[in-house]
Amino acid sequence: MNSTQSRHLAFAGLFIVVTVTMLLDISIVATVSNETKRMFDYLDNLPDSSVIIVSFDHEASSLPEMKPLGLVMLRHLFAKDHKLIGVALLAEGTGVGYRLMQETAKEYNKEYGRDYVFLGFKPQFIAAILSMGESIKGTFPEDYLGNATSQIELLSDVNNYDDVAAVVSLADGSLTTHWIEYGNEKYGVQISAAVAAAMLTTYDPYISSGQLKAMVGGLRGAAEYENLLGIGGSGARSMLAQSSAHLYIILLIIIGNFTYFRSRKKG
């Protein structure tokens, strides 16, 4: 078998594994890891009705992973009656963030302007983070819908990070680092994050140093969090496909090594 053929075979295998497991349409309750539990406890222990910034720091292409994560975060925060301020540091997170907040707010009977507000997108994320440390209303004179932020009830007592209990960064890349290096380092606001699984190991040193309070990651993390909240969701629905694909990749690594050692024996 030449390399093109074996590559095509590997591709086809992945395609089949994912399609078949998805057509089965089975939800699986994930056992909860310590990491996810810590994130849950951290957010759960914030005093009720705290002001929390939810930052949509991701792009549209990573939605399959970020949407389930965003949903569990918003559901948990709304269930605890926190006051949520939504922002987006990447342009593509804007529409997505607004829609997600609007949908979950409806589930929990939350009112726009009083229980949550979406401020929209601000370009140049480092400057945006720093500028909110001085004045949130100054950074966003208008919200996403064009209302003057000075007129919004939720924001009447909120000036800067001093009035914010926590920032939850929903990130598919390294934007949480900027929240840490500028929001936390310069203004001392507490940062936690829900991130794409790929980013978890990147943030490990910040968890260890306490610069990042807690984090949850990936579709798996979303499924675990759904479990803690006691609700079903897209995380749990994708678990079978996700785990089967992992096992398939493991199988490929084993096959790769098997053929390697066999060919080496032959010389």
Partner: protein, 204 residues
Amino acid sequence: MDPGTIVAGILTIAILSFLYGDNPVYKMAETLLVGVSMGYVLVITWTNTLMAVLFKPLFLESQFWLVIPFIFGLFMFGRFHKSTSFLSRYSMAVLIGSGAGVAIPAMLGARTLRQMTATVEMVQGDSFLTIFSGLVVVVGLFSTLSYFYFSREHEGIMGRSAKVGTYFLMIFFGTTFGYTVMSRVSTFIGRMDFLLSDFLHLTN
């Protein structure tokens, strides 16, 4: 089915066709993506930056200090002709210089100092396991740093330490690879979810 879903479905399949090999359909989808994404950013930059940050405040709200970045911006246009292209160096100078000034404290504070403190704190444990784990971190950190020590060849003690550093690096790379596989698989699952339920109506 709404036209948006049909278009999105066809384009999804067009890109996936690359897995078999390069082909005209993929190439068409690729150039479409390049063109559309450039057009999108052009519009967003026009409304969010040029209008909102520059022209409106400068001309309608008389914030005259904006003339300075405006001029530096216009200097970029110097690149359109050979005789004026030196002007663009001034704009680059602003970006590169200020970027360097911002980077120094950010890199030293949040990265280096805080990470040093965290390493020391890890050794202050009360159980055997926490102290042992803390020591593993110290060994890992020191050996990794010695791998990045460039002044000396990797021989002798330095060589051995650097070798241990490579092992720690490989643990990190392997673990990261594992976690990244999760992300990539999720993205593909997301696309298949769209194809199977929204486009083909095979699942709910």
